[in-house]
């Protein structure tokens, strides 16, 4: 994979949506081209709406240049490969992070762990805080709940001090 996905694109679902949008664009582009060649109807076909994510991906792929239909098809292939082979990390947090925070987390993973990683986010408020990371065959419980349980002695000590 030659290009780097924008940090706002972190999940398989987003990739699928972008691939779908790109295919729609390719279809639209071909239909528009044929219609233009035939000049059968003067009213042009309405262009499909582009999501910000798709625009970001296209911008990253083309490095600022306009992409041809062939380039888009190549991008679709690259994204399909990405979807199949990218390592997946599942994150469970106490609450669902906002888009900005997701992008921050994604950027950290791509900068520090693997540039092609994809994430899934889930929320479970019983972990109280922190996160549970499932990567490959391992689960890293970095939650507050585990911290509480692991530091029972400290808790007992605090309670004892309060009682005194």
């Amino acid at each position: 994979m030659a290009f780097k996905l924008p940090d706002s694109i972190y999940s398989v679902e987003q990739l699928e949506a972008i691939i779908f949008e790109l295919r729609e664009y390719v279809d639209w582009s071909r239909s528009a081209s044929i219609k233009n060649k035939l000049k059968a109807d003067s009213t042009p076909l309405p262009a499909p709406a582009w999501s910000s994510e798709m625009q970001a991906v296209v911008a990253s792929f083309g490095a600022g240049k306009a992409l041809s239909t062939g380039d888009i098809e190549e991008l679709i292939k690259a994204l399909e490969t990405f979807k199949k082979k990218a390592p997946l990390v599942h994150l469970t947090l106490a609450g669902m992070p906002g888009p900005a925070q997701r992008a921050q987390i994604m950027a950290w993973f791509r900068d520090n762990v693997n540039p092609h990683v994809l994430l899934t986010f889930a929320a479970n408020r019983t972990i109280l805080g922190g996160m549970v990371v499932r990567a490959g065959s391992h689960i890293y419980d970095l939650s507050w709940r585990r911290e509480f349980l692991a530091k029972r002695e400290k808790l007992v000590e605090v309670v004892s001090n309060v009682r005194k």
Binding site: K85, G98, Q101, L128, G129, R145
Partner: protein, 211 residues
Amino acid sequence: MNQLVVIIIAGVAAALGVAGIAWVLLRAKPAAGEHTLASTKPAGSSATLSGGQTIPVLGDEQRERLIKQAAAEFEAVVQDGTKQFRADLAATSNLLSEQVKRMTTTIITEELENYRHSLEELRKQALEVMAGVQAAVEEQRKALASGLETEMKAERERLSLQLDTKLADIVSSYVLEVLGNKVDMGAQGAYLFETLEAHKEELKRELSDGV
């Protein structure tokens, strides 16, 4: 005892007396083949034997007097003998009594000594057995105490762990209840990246097999 001896002596004396009298009477009568004398003879007469030998013959009175004298002498002798015998018997009896007493004392003393020795042996054996039993009981008591202590310690630790876990659960539940749905993920940002940094290398290794 003395009465019995007296009775025996009296019996013996009576028997001797009767026997003496009988002997005198029998001797007075002529046996078969023996020379017979006239039943009443005057004092100073004599008798002629078949061989021509003459022997003096006592008169009735003289004979009576001699018999009485013999009886009296015999009685005196018997009485003396009886007295002597009684004294000897008494001395013997005393000696025997003394001997018996001494023997009895000795035997009883020996038996008592044996008994005391046996008792001492038994007491020692009993003490040894008791000491063994006491040691076994003490050992058992120690084993039980040790087992109980270990069990109590394990139980105490288990309960302590359970309590700690419960306490942690209580605190977790309390924090969860207080936070409700107001978990501020933004406030956790720094903590999240800090913990991720701490596990960066492990995550890298885990995801190195990716694309």
